[in-house]
Subunit: 473 residues, 2 copies
Amino acid sequence: MTTKIHPVILCGGSGTRLWPLSRKSYPKQFGRVFGELSLFQRTAARLSGPDFAPPMLLTTSDFRFIVGQQLTEMGMEPGRILIEPAGRNTGPAILAAALALRDTPQALMLVAPSDHLIADEEAFRAAVRAGAAAAAEGRLVTFGVAPDRPETGYGYLELDEADADGPVRPLRRFVEKPDAETAAQMLASGRFLWNAGIFLFSVGAALEAYRAHAPDLIAPVRRALEEGREDLDFFRLAEEPWLAARDVSVDYAIMEKAGNLAVAPLGGGWNDLGSWTTVWRETGPDADGVALSGEATAIDCRDTLLRSENEGVRLVGIGLENIVAVATRDAVLVADMAQSQRVREAVAALKAQGAAQAEEFPRFHRPWGWYETLAMGERFQVKVIQVRPGGKLSLQSHMHRSEHWVVVEGTARVTVGAEERLLTENESVYIPLGATHRLENPGKVPLRLIEVQSGPYLGEDDIIRYEDIYARG
Amino acid sequence: MTTKIHPVILCGGSGTRLWPLSRKSYPKQFGRVFGELSLFQRTAARLSGPDFAPPMLLTTSDFRFIVGQQLTEMGMEPGRILIEPAGRNTGPAILAAALALRDTPQALMLVAPSDHLIADEEAFRAAVRAGAAAAAEGRLVTFGVAPDRPETGYGYLELDEADADGPVRPLRRFVEKPDAETAAQMLASGRFLWNAGIFLFSVGAALEAYRAHAPDLIAPVRRALEEGREDLDFFRLAEEPWLAARDVSVDYAIMEKAGNLAVAPLGGGWNDLGSWTTVWRETGPDADGVALSGEATAIDCRDTLLRSENEGVRLVGIGLENIVAVATRDAVLVADMAQSQRVREAVAALKAQGAAQAEEFPRFHRPWGWYETLAMGERFQVKVIQVRPGGKLSLQSHMHRSEHWVVVEGTARVTVGAEERLLTENESVYIPLGATHRLENPGKVPLRLIEVQSGPYLGEDDIIRYEDIYARG
């Protein structure tokens, strides 16, 4: 390859189909669905190496620090982080990426979701190499997966029979999610692949396709870029023009209308993890169909997925058949496997009940690290707070509570009023009501401390911020 | 009634059939299976009032403080608390109670398990009144429940047809747990009642029955009483003779052999809560058979029990049929309803895996109150500690850890070394490694504090006790 491919990773989604593991505040692409790395981290790793430029990331304001931190954990640097002021589907997002790269029209972009699983990395790289050649010739390349079952949950790609053996094959048409009968026919014909939602094309070819098939998107998305602003390490697209762009998928906006399409077959080993059933399948069920993850025990079960997501939460299944059970510290899902896509209804029901578990986790991620509530009473709250090396909370004060901090790991630099001091493991400090204070981690290892709050009102909004290195309001 | 009936409440059992709600360290009779009172408290309340003397309690060393505290919570005083050095089944236990009352041979004893549910209290009292008349005449009275299904999980009582309308009816024989066919025949005949495991007899009649039918039990149980010792509010049966007594049920030891038997019919509304299926039935399922408890939500379920046992743990079921799901903070059970009696296997499996959840709860009960671990790291542990009014921890020191205490509710009297001070809400104290210290609640409301431990070893056995008002080792 002569020039590096620009990965464009879409990581702004907030799917709930894997609730309670995936929630709006920290969706599945950032979670550890399989192994120690998140799906986003696996995606970034897959799209790194000598063939690739640093990845461009498209995300939302809520996740802007998470993506940076997850890359840092892996020793990777992001290319550019574009922040979408609101979800507008993949059509405008990919156009924004293409416009951001418009100075290099020959450059190739590989657009990929961040929440899919690709087991066979080698086959994926081979498909990318094959696709790159076609993309360099100006074609719009999609990636297709050989189906092994009559899946009704995916879109399909119909191949031209003419050129059945090439590494990249001409595409006849896109097919929307089929009914069961159509899916069975397509599987039998051998001419259909699943649409993996991964695209490879040159910046110039992409812009040309948008101009030809979705010209209305160009002006608002260009304005969103031109009027956007740098914010620390991020680039915020301008909200007003962005909201004026049509909410449309890239498939519908350009791919289904373009003529210069090609398919790079991906082989198997791809999974969109779009429901707990697909996770069950990917976990590698045993001969009885039982798949376990975490502290889970099955007694006499069949075709069942048992996942415990948190250390210290034991999950036991007895005599189950076709059941998905997922246990977290604060929420448990038990569903008939065939109805696991109805998880959205559960999330909606919990939201209507005002249950925090619908959208939030007990652990809240912040630019400086995270915190989690351990115990709560009418007039007290206990939190564990972790600050990453170099992390610094805002200079702040509270009107309704005082706080005790006890350091249990690492070293803290603590400012209370005019006084600044270092605290290490087993040392504590008291922050009286009203005192300005600040916490930071000046060390090389994570800082962990226990905060005990006392007061009649303990809401997160009892905070006056005087200064914040993360430019939060 | 001329003299008061002596309730004898058996509360030493440690059943696991309702795991994870019932565990060895705090079994179901002490848990809140239905409503705000424990099953034991409901039993004690049912056997109180003008007809009854204070209850005699038979329990084990592990539960000695729990029974006293649960009675105190209700404003009741125990009569005598007999501690069994080991479980020897109901035969020796009831004999011990009878021997303890032998100075009043005319007195009536009502022996009851502490973990059953009796919904119709008025019918129960009427049955007791009817039984008392027969017991006063020297008969051994059992209580029988009219069956409403061919249950194979209970023993049965066969009635004599002769005297079908009396308030107390002659008993022909005891029937062991039947197979399904026999159970159906017995239900159809109308001559069989479930054996509720509740007994009413005079002290003299009971002793006579033991002498006649289980004479080998008398000597060891009498010695266990004679050689036992008072310990604070308890009476500890002597271990060596107690262990020499045969492990046998009262049914087998005397009831199945005696001739002077009578049955007091109890009507319905009785449930032994012997499995999650019986709990489901007792919860009052809706028209679809769905029974919910706590923070539980059912979407399109049938014949399903969903119970969340802890605040903050949301349980959702989707499309389930014949499923029992019980979620606690640290353990979740999901079982096919028909196999819910196999919970014992699950507990055994967890025990084999070394999982604490097999037998313990996160909350540990102590004579002075309770504690619970909120967070744990390699070199720290955070606990919440609650001390009841008047409660006093032992005077102690630790070799491997120091502690920070922050009071969040109530008032503490804290001794560290030679210094004693009062701490109230939002005040803290530091206990250096090696310092002798003591915590007590001198107030009228519960004291709650957060303890942050730091050190390389944080086991409960790092404790040197200098003084303990609860006479613990």
